[in-house]
């Protein structure tokens, strides 16, 4: 009886927590707008990084395949959106048509990357995937001749904003008597997509395929011996992870209205990987926390470093960018020293990294 009532209390608490978080998330853009519309934009980008981190987490965290070229899928999704919704090719499809196309094409590229690298692991896989990311970027840079597809380094501009019904997300509107800015509208759309992405992730993790991914990460030979088609299952990981990147890329295009190959460089891949590792590989909540942390902290620095230096020294001694990389490096070193499994690791990973030997 006691367990029954405590279960009920727990459940009530859980629901109360969920409702509280939901209300807070719904109210957030209004609080942020008070601090400046820039913070809404920053939050939107942070959510995109959550998508990317969760996608990469499937490949790196679940299946244990180190991928340093993940930004390529982000780029594919972004360019699919840009090409299908801008004056560049004169095509203007609605976003709900383009996002699935972008996700599917990114998944296809995921399989394209996965197929030749099936036998590689660890460092070797990292090198090849890094090369893949660069290849995609260089293609984006050069596919302007002989036929102009990507418009080269100039990028693609005047990309259509998302439109739902008659409402464009590109500018401010008065909805239900409330003034809602473009970024705020995107925020709600992203929140909805985020919910979807998290549900998909959780369901994949606790499924036959999710267990097969984990099994491959733990011992590939044993996984094969008990009947897991590792080729298929690894390609599924690459494809699923890539499709998340494709969706994020599409939304990035729509929000920014302009993209160029410069947005899809190696450091982006490294940053996304850092989010996954910092948060805690394999744990969805940890990965989300890592992505938010690494998205917000640099922005906060941008807004504090310059005023603080001006106040203290009367002039700017160190560029915010330098401080950012300095702190970033320091954070990674400290993390590897004190929390090698990430800030919020998967229970299993935590033990994997623990140094105490298990003696029974």
């Amino acid at each position: 009886m006691t367990t029954g009532s405590s279960n009920r209390t727990n459940r009530t608490l859980k629901y109360a927590g969920v409702i509280f978080v939901a209300v807070a998330l719904m109210a957030l853009p209004f609080a942020l707008t008070a601090a400046g519309t820039a913070w809404v934009r920053i939050t939107n980008l942070a959510i995109l990084y959550v998508f990317l981190s969760l996608g990469l987490n499937i490949v790196v965290g679940y299946a244990g395949l180190l991928d340093l070229g993940y930004v390529a899928f982000y780029g594919v999704g972004a360019y699919v959106y840009a090409l299908l919704a801008s004056p560049h090719l004169g095509i203007h499809l609605p976003f709900w048509v383009i996002l699935p196309i972008g996700a599917a094409l990114a998944a296809f590229f995921g399989v394209l990357l996965g197929t030749p690298t099936l036998k590689l692991r660890g460092d070797y896989l990292a090198i090849v995937t890094m090369g893949f990311g660069e290849i995609v970027r260089i293609f984006l840079n050069n596919l302007s001749r002989p036929i102009n597809i990507t418009n080269g380094p100039q990028g693609i501009a005047i990309i259509d904003p998302v439109r739902v019904g008659g409402i464009s997300f590109g500018h401010e509107d008065v909805l239900f008597g409330v003034t809602v800015s473009g970024p705020v509208k995107y925020y709600y759309l992203l929140l909805l997509l985020l919910l979807l992405v998290i549900v998909v992730n959780l369901r994949l993790q606790n499924s036959r395929i999710g267990r097969a991914w984990e099994a491959i990460r733990e011992d590939e030979t044993a996984a094969r011996a008990i009947g897991i088609d590792t080729t298929l299952v690894k390609l599924l990981a690459f494809a699923m992870g890539a499709s998340f990147g494709g969706v994020a890329g599409g939304m990035f295009s729509a929000i920014q209205g302009f993209i160029s190959p410069e947005s899809f460089v190696l450091t982006e891949s490294v940053m996304i990987l850092a989010m996954v590792v910092l948060g805690g590989m394999g744990n969805i909540w940890g990965v989300i926390a890592g992505a938010l942390l690494l998205s917000y902290v640099p922005e906060m620095l941008r807004y504090t470093v310059v005023p603080v230096q001006m106040a203290v020294f009367g002039r700017m001694l160190v560029e915010p960018e330098v401080i950012r990389m300095l702190l970033f490096g320091l954070a990674l070193v400290l993390m590897m020293r004190f929390r090698p499994a990430g800030l919020w690791p998967l229970r299993a990973r935590q033990r994997e990294f623990s140094t105490e030997d298990v003696v029974k």
């Binding site: 036959r208 011992d219 044993a222 094969r224 011996a225 008990i226 897991i228």
Partner: protein
């Protein structure tokens, strides 16, 4: 005698100039415990690895359950109904005991990515069935009380049993055990023996590689002896024990 489950036809495996297996032919009947013994380096594990698709045979072939066994990849061998354990235990260390066995059901279940994402009635029923069967198997091998412990935290003997449970989860016709008693103490070995005898009683065919000669002689219905990659004897344990070639192989001629 009962019908033949597995037949190896002149299976050979060379690693460069090393002749690890030389035209090994043997026959395993349904429902028997078949022992494969031999001195160190005789090719027992190589034979296992060829049979289960980890290595490809240089020449030779297998017939399994009346049909030619197409060994193109290990997962197809598992699908055909041959499950194995490893000499050095290969569990999924950071998954729970229950999850380890649940992974074993992979080859007999179907839910894909779409099924997992939509989580319809079919997928939920399959998930429930997977978990139920995995728990049954944990009970069967006697590690059910550790179901939610990480595999790496289980005591050595339990890890061996868990690996057997995981292999059983694939619904095998033939269970191939690679030195299951290695590193076990007398109590654990006795318990293992009871477990394997129980498997035979339940109609499973077992192929057993073992160093513990006492265990093999007491447990197996028939025994084959490998020496330098060649089969030098195949018979009931009592006869094999008295075979001149076998004695020479073990004691050195």
């Amino acid at each position: 005698m009962s019908s033949i489950l597995l037949e190896a036809h002149a299976v050979a495996k060379r690693f460069g100039g090393v002749r690890a297996l030389h035209d090994v032919s043997l026959t395993i009947h349904e429902g028997e415990i078949y022992g494969l013994i031999g001195p160190n380096g005789a090719g027992k594990t190589t034979f296992f690895n060829v049979l289960t698709g980890l290595y490809s045979a240089t020449t030779g072939s297998f017939t399994f359950a009346g049909a030619p066994l197409r060994i193109s990849a290990p997962h197809e061998v598992a699908k055909a109904g041959i499950a194995r354990t490893f000499q050095n235990i290969r569990l999924f260390a950071n998954m729970t005991a229950l999850e380890n066995v649940m992974v074993g059901r992979h080859v007999r279940t179907h839910a894909g990515v779409i099924g997992a994402v939509l989580r319809g009635a079919g997928t939920r029923a399959e998930e429930a069935a997977i978990e139920r069967r995995a728990l049954e198997l944990l009970h069967y091998v006697g590690v059910a009380d550790r179901a939610n412990d990480l595999a790496r935290n289980l005591p050595y003997g339990d890890q061996r049993r868990l690996e057997i449970a995981r292999a059983l989860a694939t619904d095998p016709k033939l269970l191939a055990l690679d030195e299951p008693a290695a590193g076990m103490n007398a109590t654990e070995t006795a318990a293992l023996r009871t477990l394997v005898e129980g498997l035979r009683a339940d109609g499973l065919t077992v192929l057993l590689i073992e160093h513990d000669v006492k265990l093999v002689m007491g447990l197996c219905d028939r025994v084959a002896v490998l020496d330098y990659g060649e089969k030098i004897a195949e018979d009931v344990p009592e006869k094999v024990q008295r075979d001149q070639k076998v004695i020479e192989a073990y004691l050195g001629a």
